[in-house]
Amino acid sequence: MKTNSLFIVAGVRTPFCRAGTSLAEMDSVELGRLAVNGLFARTGLDPALVDETFFGCVAQPANAANMARVIALRAGVPKEKPAMTVQRNCASGMEAVTTAQDKLSAQHGEVFLVGGGESMSQMPLLFRHEAAIKFAMLSRAKGFMGKAGAMAAFRAQDFAPLIALKMGLTDPVAALNMGETAEILAREFQISREEQDTFALRSHQLASSSREMLHEEIIPVYAGSKDVKAITEDNGIRKDISLEKLASLPSIFDLLTGSVTAGNASQITDGAVALLTCSEAKVSTLGLKPLGRVVSYAYTGCDPERMGLGPVKAIELALKRAGWKLQDVDIIEINEAFATQVLAVLKCLKDRVYADRAGLEAPLGEIDLSTLNRQGGSIALGHPVGASGARLILTALQQLHHTHKKRALVSLCIGGGQGGAVCLETL
């Protein structure tokens, strides 16, 4: 009997580059398009096979309201094939995959192009609403005196922009910045600055020793308007990092007593991921060699002020749906939004007292660190918010193949107080 689970056939991603560096001039659409182009070039498959496209993006570009549609059309997917942009904050890239799984289960298509892309460099600066009204009045004003009068209404503060990036990273319900939610976890779970920095160091070290493996995920991007350069590597990984250097960084979100720094938090990054997914039937008719399949997934909610704990409940539910135990899993990827947040999740999974706080009935068990984020995480590679969810799935599957293991679990915390988790397995 054929399953109705979603098979992931192939995946590629652009290099992940710190915001404002090599990929800064490309918007989310362009990054997504390049990833999709690379995917079709590398697999040699025909874009016309695609039944529907789902792309995740957090800050959807104003000039491409349905980014997925623009990407699909520009990458050569026939215009008859629909496309939808999905948004579940940091899990948008994962949401694209799970949406495809849902559509497949509902038998609404068999081949799906999915992925996520985010240009954090190109998040806009906005005018305040009051200023926008004044601009509208100005454009409606008639005559020289009318225009002059409308202009006189402006005040200096009207020209101070709102920073979309900052707004996006702030939870409107809890009125807290993501970093501030991480500080709460550090306090409540007693995670020291040193523990966080050690975890960040590990991320960088693992990432730089896995460059070769990461290279397999990456398709080169050619950037630059004057002097075009081939961008072939993630540029957030620091080879020369040390605990001393990390310790010297100031804490950003709580200047006096805080412990979350730029060094032990995920980086602000540009990048995109594209995956080709399809049904089991299509795998055999097209003669494909899939990377793996989705076994189960789950999204759960939690306290927005402690959004970093999101993975705890999501992992529990996804495992339950898969019928797995935490010990069955060979490869685990938990997105490193903040070092403290990952460490808090680990504590909750292991320790009865903390498990209770996160709403677990019983701890799920201890995660062997040798299975967790083996090739580094967002602290080293960066966290292009719309793309990371898809990257975790891609990298987990690649690792299963390299290690010849079977089962992987992918999870991330979602701004606004949610967690997402996906169970994957090779064939």
Binding site: R33, N37, G38, F40, A41, R42, T43, G44, L45, D46, R74, A75, G76, I219, P220, Y222, G224, S225, D227, V228, K229, A230, T232
Partner: protein, 690 residues
């Protein structure tokens, strides 16, 4: 036939216009080409619809029939407006019947000319609003008719093209175009349009002021009618401020000196652009009637020079080659080509990828390392930027075309590719290896094309299973501009593959010439002996750059030494080697190039060739370094002698090409040389044929 000066206020019977002129060559039974309908609003719709033809053209019969309708309208006081439209899908009016122009004896040509002027003046003198509703190609005489109307509206459609391309054919717009256009849009713009013979889209035409409005095709007729019912200034004799002294005089001087400095051959022969400048600028300060007489005089001068006929001949041959297939392949069905891989992101590879993407093909551009590709991306970006800047592409088109190109530096599967074009380094072993590898990655029926300029396609094909799908596709540099592609056919190449390639090249807007697999094919085979001959002459000369002057005066777009700089000495020597292997000492022998290369001179590549300072503001300058390599002899050659010798080299090789049956006919060889090397079409390549 005298030109008739019309006064629109005159009574139609008194205006002295003699219609119903019967010409001996008009068969009286020719079927009518115009349909006249008058609708309930009193608007006369005159539809130009030549039966059993895809295009409408002006000849004696159609002009006279048109004139009869105009005469009727002069007498009909019920009709309140005239709308002229075409019925063909792609062509409104394609201008004068070129085949007719080419075959007519001079006397009758003048008659046709005078008739056209007369009929359009007659049209202009109608005292009702006259509207040209243009859908499809409207060029030459077609647009001159529209210029005689009061209002021009064009459809916003890809097939709508507007312009006066006469100078490209060695003619000038002489049915009033050189007179009415400057008065409509001003002298500088009109001069530019007529001299360059540019054909524009509807939107460009509107921007230039050639048409009043551009509307969607579906609304063209209703809009024309709406305009017809509005009050309109009719028979308005425009006056443009640029007609005032001294603007025409200054423009004449300026345009002429600009043109002759760029194309020095124009000084020697009666070049139509120069004559057009004279007619337009002199005519601008005279009355319309006098200006029309100037047009007539100019055509007399041009038609006698024989150059016109050879330019029209070349044009017709080119049209033929870029639209039709050679006889043996007419009935072979071509395959469709939608996905193409181009191997090699060098100058040729990226140029080809750009040209393909612009014509709607999806391209995979491959090279061996990301850094090579980055350079290719850079080149392609620059081509797109230039395309947008020069209005060849709109921003939207540029983005769409750019999206069609995917880059890869990996060995990716190519099962989806309909064809692969190889444009890598010219080395047989590397090419064979690549083709063997490609054959593994592609389908068995994927067409494999090599862009080699001199290597044997046959030899390359040996590396591949199913060699009947291998062809040569020799593009010229810069690939996106050069109109010629030599399609190299092997003996065993499938006819289907040949047809597909010919159609493919045609769909790129280029002209394919089918050639046999022989060293250098046509263009390089003829060009290289000429280039080396020039180098050989240069050794003995005090002033080697005189050779370039002589050959540009002869009509070549670039002197041979300058061209060598452009090609690069290394490439030139490589081709020389191949040709020498094949033809022995027939290729002129000279060690100058290798000596110069030994001293690190490569041509334009490193800014050290026969010329230097390529990047400077004033353009390249002769490089005095060259003189140290020369051994000047006393009593150097005159320009005429240089031309004679070098032309002789090309003529000899062309004849051998024909004898070896590299191409099907002498006209193919001539066309290839004109399009691929810029050989002047008005000079003979085959002196023994007429």
């Amino acid at each position: 036939m005298d030109l008739l000066v019309l006064d629109p206020t005159q009574d139609p019977d008194q205006d002295g216009h003699i219609s119903q002129v019967t010409h001996s060559h008009v068969t009286p039974v020719s079927p009518p080409c115009f349909r006249k309908e008058v609708d309930s609003d009193g608007i006369c719709w005159l539809t130009f619809d030549t039966p059993n033809a895809s295009a409408n053209v002006w000849n004696f019969a159609t002009l006279e029939e048109f004139d009869r309708h105009i005469e009727e309208l002069h007498r009909d006081h019920e009709v309140c407006a005239l709308i002229i439209r075409g019925s063909k899908e792609k062509v409104f009016i394609a201008g004068a019947d070129l085949k007719m122009v080419q075959t007519l004896p001079s006397e009758e040509l003048y008659e046709l000319l005078a008739l056209g002027q007369d009929v359009f003046t007659h049209l202009e003198s109608l005292r009702i609003p006259k509207i040209a509703a243009i859908h499809g190609t409207c060029v030459g005489g077609g647009f001159e008719m529209a210029l005689a109307c009061d209002y021009r509206v064009a459809s916003k459609c890809d097939s709508t093209r507007i312009g006066l391309p006469e100078t490209q054919l060695g003619l000038i717009p002489a049915w009033g175009g050189s007179t009415r256009l400057p008065r409509l849009i001003g002298l500088p713009k009109a001069l530019d349009l007529i001299i360059r013979g540019k054909i524009m889209t509807a939107d460009q035409a509107k921007r230039q002021g050639l048409v009043h409005e551009v509307v969607p095709e579906e609304h063209l007729m209703s809009f024309a009618k709406k305009m017809a019912l509005k009050p309109m200034r009719i028979n308005a004799h425009h006056f443009h401020f640029t007609q005032v002294w001294p603007i025409p005089q200054w423009l004449r001087y300026h345009a002429k000196s600009l043109l002759t400095s760029k194309h020095s051959w124009m000084k020697e022969v009666q070049a139509s652009p120069l004559i057009a400048i004279d007619v337009i600028t002199h005519g601008a300060s005279k009355s319309i009637e006098e200006s029309l007489l100037l047009e007539q005089g100019a055509i007399r001068k041009l038609a006698d020079s024989g150059m016109t006929k050879s330019l029209i001949e070349t044009f017709l041959r080119k049209e033929n080659a870029s639209k039709k297939l050679p006889a043996p392949y007419i009935h072979v069905k071509p395959r469709s080509i939608t996905h193409v891989a181009v191997i090699g992101a060098g100058v040729m590879g990226s140029g080809i990828a750009y040209a393909l993407a612009c014509k709607g093909t999806r391209v995979l551009l491959c090279d061996t390392s990301p850094d090579f590709i980055a350079r290719g991306v850079d080149r392609i970006n620059q081509l797109f930027q230039a395309g947008v800047k020069n209005h060849v592409l709109t921003r939207k088109q540029a983005r769409e075309s750019k999206d069609r190109i995917t880059f890869t530096s990996e060995s990716v599967p190519m099962k989806r590719m309909d064809m692969v074009i190889e444009a890598i380094v010219e080395e047989m072993s590397v090419k064979k290896q690549l083709f063997a590898d490609l054959a593994m990655r592609c389908r068995d029926d994927t067409i494999l094309a090599t862009n080699t300029s001199a290597l044997s396609v046959m030899e390359i094909a040996k590396a591949v299973p199913y060699p009947e799908r291998v062809v040569g596709l020799h593009f010229f540099n810069p690939a996106h501009l050069m109109p010629l592609v030599e399609v190299v056919q092997l003996e065993k190449t499938l006819p289907e593959v040949v047809t597909t390639m010919m159609r493919f090249v045609q769909s790129m807007g280029k002209t394919p010439i089918l050639v046999r697999d022989a060293p250098g094919f046509i263009v390089n085979r003829i060009l290289v002996p000429y280039l080396l001959g020039a180098v050989k002459l240069a050794v003995d000369m005090r002033d080697p750059w005189m050779i370039d002057d002589a050959m540009t005066e002869f009509g070549m777009p670039m002197g041979p030494l300058r061209l060598l700089d452009e090609v690069g000495f290394d490439v030139a020597l490589h081709v020389e080697k191949t040709l020498r292997n094949a033809f022995g000492d027939r290729v002129p022998q000279c060690s100058l190039l290798s000596e110069m290369m030994a001293h690190g001179m490569l041509g334009r590549k490193n800014d050290r060739g026969f010329y230097s300072a390529f990047q400077s503001k004033n353009g390249e300058q002769p490089n005095p370094e060259v003189l140290t390599f020369l051994q000047p002899k006393v009593g150097s050659l005159t320009k005429a002698q240089i031309i004679d010798q070098l032309q002789g080299l090309m003529q000899d090789e062309a004849q051998r090409c024909l004898d070896d049956k590299v191409a099907a006919s002498a006209s193919d060889i001539e066309l290839a040389m004109t399009l691929g090397a810029g050989y002047p079409p008005f000079r003979h390549l085959f002196p023994h044929q007429t």
